[in-house]
């Protein structure tokens, strides 16, 4: 015991380097150090926090390392797939100027991503505008729900790209037609989740509304809307996820400016490094969208009853 105490001040200084190694002694140390002095205890708490961050970061970093390592191994002998180093060099070059513009068919990757996001935003926005009120109505009125159920069941499994020709026919232009496919694929999860949320509003809350004799407007704003919001956000998250999947395919077909079109254009130019970069960019943007909505959803998770 006493040797551990004597070692303590020296240990704190070097602990940062050894954090990962010296697990066993670390566990015993704070209990022993606490009565001796306050500062070493504080320092060891800091080390503990750092260690926790390190332990949390190691598995995901390992996973990513494995991915890149395998990729590097497979491309070591050369071939048509570029190696990580080649892609890195291309990326450094590409991201040096992401917002250049040499006419409609040659724009920086930043512009491409932004115009894809814009299409997703518009299509998704219209889907929310139509889908959320529709979902409210389907959830509130059983008759409407039974009326629309077969229609939705029939249309929902159809790939949104099958709707692209209809969009081209009606809207006459490629750009709004791509937005139209986003609208179609976003609307189903929005309707279904909102309706489910309305159906699941606890009877207790509705009884409160009935006893208070609240007006229909108050019922919607003070009770239904907040109760349904978490379900709505789930619908929105699922919609955004699908929309981001679909936009790449839709843009490959419609052309113009956008990350999907860019992938296809780089394939025609045989710049395979750029295709790999696009895959990463699409993945990262999708991840950010998803995580942002998860954060937002957590903000409205009041229930821990």
């Amino acid at each position: 015991m006493s040797t551990v105490v004597a070692l303590k001040p020296a240990r704190v200084a070097i602990e940062k380097e050894e954090a990962a190694v010296e697990q066993k002694i670390e566990i015993a140390a704070p209990a022993v150090a606490a009565p001796v002095a306050a500062t070493p205890a504080k320092a060891s708490r800091l080390v503990g926090a750092l260690k926790e961050i390190a332990l949390n970061a190691i598995p995901p970093l390992l996973g990513l390392g494995l991915l890149i390592g395998l990729w590097g191994l497979l491309t070591m002998k050369g071939g048509s797939i570029p190696s990580p180093a080649q892609v890195w060099a291309a990326a450094a070059n590409l991201f040096a100027d992401p917002f250049y513009s040499n006419g409609p068919n040659d724009q920086g990757i930043g512009w491409n991503v932004l115009s894809s996001l814009k299409r997703v935003g518009i299509g998704f926005g219209f889907a929310a505008l139509v889908g959320i009120p529709l979902g409210f109505m389907l959830g509130r009125f059983d008759f409407l729900s039974r009326m629309f159920d077969p229609v939705i069941s029939l249309l929902r499994p159809v790939s949104p790209l099958a709707w692209l020709p209809i969009g081209l026919l009606v809207l006459k232009k490629a750009d709004p037609a791509a937005t139209w496919t986003i609208f179609i694929c976003s609307i189903w999860p929005m309707i279904l989740n909102t309706a489910e949320g309305v159906r699941r509003v606890p009877q207790d809350y509705l009884n409160v509304a009935r006893v208070l004799n609240l007006s229909e407007g108050k019922i919607i704003t003070r009770i239904l809307f907040p109760a349904v919001l978490p379900y709505m956000l789930t619908g929105i998250r699922l919609s955004i996820g699908t929309a981001w999947l679909v936009i790449v395919a839709a843009e490959m077909l419609t052309g113009g400016v956008g990350i999907g079109f860019w992938v296809w254009d780089e394939w025609n130019n045989l710049k395979v490094e750029h295709i790999v970069i696009a895959i990463f960019v699409i993945g990262i943007v999708g991840l950010v969208l998803e995580q942002t909505l998860l954060l937002l959803a957590r903000r409205f998770q009041y229930e821990t009853r």
């Binding site: 207790d204 809350y205 009884n207 409160v208 009935r210 006893v211 208070l212 004799n213 609240l214 108050k218 003070r222 009770i223 907040p226 109760a227 409205f300 009041y302 229930e303 821990t304 009853r305």
Partner: protein
């Protein structure tokens, strides 16, 4: 005073279920006077909550009439406030806003914001929850939530207060302290209360009359016990009181001898 506040006349309630018609209540006659505290007690499934819902107007009777202040009860309304068993506070509003929602509905047309605010604060202070009024329901304990539920009901200044096993979900110690608190608030406000309970001590401690219901289906009012104990009532003093013990014995006798549930 001699005109009863609530009059229940030959009320029966039948539900349509998959197995056919189910009669929950029949031939219920009961009058509740101003300032009276009435408990409904009986084994589970005896229809005591059904009767409370009928007074609340949440359900309509199949036969018979219910009157409140000489008008037929045609639906729920804020003159008959309900304290629900599971508090039913809206989780996205603070305690203050939960009470405010009710106060605004009842007094919003006649009174300005500052006065409404005073009402809410007074109601929360009455149940000793003024310190936590800006907390959200998930931040406070079960007993505290129920206090806010009670404050919400009292703040509406209803003609009658209906409580559906208000303390059923609480532990024994919290329940006792809330019962004492409720006794105090009832004494202060002179409220008329109908309370569903299955706790014999709670019924005797809080009420002026205990309405005991027979086992369902087709439950009727079996007996009524008058609790002639003066108020304020003190839990500890009553434990020794002969009249308290007699009332208690009468209710227990009804529940466990006359209406003993057949082994289910």
């Amino acid at each position: 005073m001699n005109q009863p506040l609530v009059k229940i006349e030959r009320v029966g309630q039948t539900f349509n279920t998959k197995q056919g018609a189910f009669t929950a209540l029949r031939d219920i006659d009961l009058s509740i006077h101003h300032g009276e505290v009435v408990s409904l007690i009986g084994h589970s499934g005896c229809g005591k909550s059904t009767l409370l819902n009928l007074i609340a107007g949440l359900t309509r009777p199949t036969t018979g009439v219910l009157l409140c202040d000489n008008r037929e009860i045609a639906g729920p309304g804020p003159d008959r406030a309900v304290v629900f068993q599971n508090h039913s506070l809206l989780p996205w509003m603070t305690c203050f806003d939960n009470v405010m929602l009710a106060v605004e509905r009842v007094f919003g047309r006649k009174e300005g914001k500052p006065k409404l605010k005073l009402r809410v604060e007074a109601a929360l202070a009455m149940v000793h929850m003024d310190h936590a009024m800006h907390k959200f329901p998930h931040e406070i304990s079960g007993g505290m939530k129920q206090r806010v539920g009670i404050a919400r009901a009292f703040a509406m200044e209803p003609k009658i207060l209906l409580m559906d096993e208000p303390f059923g979900a609480l532990d024994a110690l919290t329940r006792a302290s809330l019962q004492d608190e409720l006794n105090g608030v009832m004494a202060k406000t002179g409220a008329t209360v109908v309370m569903v309970t299955h706790d014999v001590d709670e019924a005797v401690l809080l009420s002026d009359r205990i309405v005991m219901m027979t086992n369902g289906p087709a439950a009727v009012i079996g007996e009524i016990v008058d609790v002639r104990l003066e108020r304020p009532r003190d839990r500890l003093a009553l434990a020794e009181d002969r009249r308290f013990a007699e009332c208690r014995a009468a209710v227990l006798d009804f529940l466990y001898r006359k209406q003993m549930k057949k082994a289910a």
